[in-house]
């Protein structure tokens, strides 16, 4: 499976999920599971770092949107990190830049959480 998932807890109740490779119809269920696990473990504030992601499809977008919604329901938030113009373009053309806060680095995103 061409997806890498690495999760860290820089502080209590806050997680950074760094994704790498392809987030698509095949792999995104694993990302969804990771987000759900964090929420269930009482970690409603998270940063999803897309820096290493080479391919993101609508299924991946759907998982991120679902994560954002569920996080907010628990008074948390889900912020994104992305500096790949190709991936940023997908958020732009789908209008999702209006819904997500997207930062250039995971330090920036953590600051705002």
């Amino acid at each position: 499976m061409n997806l890498r998932v690495e999760t860290q807890n820089p502080r209590e109740g806050v997680a950074v999920i760094a994704l790498g490779g392809e987030v698509d119809v095949y792999t995104s269920p694993r990302v969804k599971q990771e987000i759900v696990n964090l929420l269930n473990a009482g970690t409603p504030k998270m940063v999803v770092d897309l820096t290493g992601v080479e391919y993101l499809d609508s299924t991946g977008l759907g998982v991120l949107i679902g994560g954002l919604k569920r996080a907010r329901e628990r008074d948390g938030d889900l912020k994104l990190v992305c500096d790949n113009t190709r991936i940023l373009r997908i958020f732009e053309i789908t209008g999702l830049t209006k819904i997500f806060d997207i930062y250039r680095s995971s330090a920036d995103a953590l600051d705002k959480l």
Partner: protein, 146 residues
């Protein structure tokens, strides 16, 4: 590639299962990158084809038709690439489309996004159903910039 080459056709058939969508994306990458598309255009085509397969698989999910394959027919011209994605018609009726602005709930599973992306990424998109053959056809065209 020179303009004098005759029309060429590449066809690919994959199982309608998530793990094979990547095969379609790689094959289409090979096709598009041999044409006079820019890097961004090649990526657009790759994403659109991935979405076409993903969309078909989503619709088939749970309908029992997953044993029937998805086929892609690429018709390669000096000036344009046409891709026809044929997938088994889902037995369940298509979900009603949202008429208002996309909201979080509708977008939850990314399903609406698939159609939105395909329409933005490709120059022409047409959808047809052949109920008797049980086939859904999505025809997508991308033109090479002049």
């Amino acid at each position: 590639m020179s303009e004098t080459l005759p029309l060429a056709e590449v066809t690919l058939t994959i199982p309608s299962r998530p793990e094979y969508v990547g095969v379609a994306r790689l094959a289409i990458l090979g096709v598009a990158s041999r044409m006079r598309f820019s890097y961004d255009e090649v990526e657009d085509i790759r994403l659109a084809v991935g979405e076409a397969c993903t969309n078909a698989i989503d619709r088939l999910n749970g309908s029992g038709a997953t044993e029937r394959p998805i086929s892609l027919t690429c018709t390669i011209d000096a000036n344009r690439l046409m891709i026809e994605a044929r997938s088994p018609l889902a037995s369940t009726p298509p979900r009603p489309r949202s008429t208002e602005e996309a909201d979080l709930d509708n977008l939850m599973e990314g399903k609406e996004l698939s159609g939105v992306l395909i329409r933005i990424l490709m120059d022409e998109v047409e959808s047809e159903e052949d109920a008797s053959a049980g086939i859904h056809l999505l025809r997508m065209v991308k033109y090479v910039a002049r």
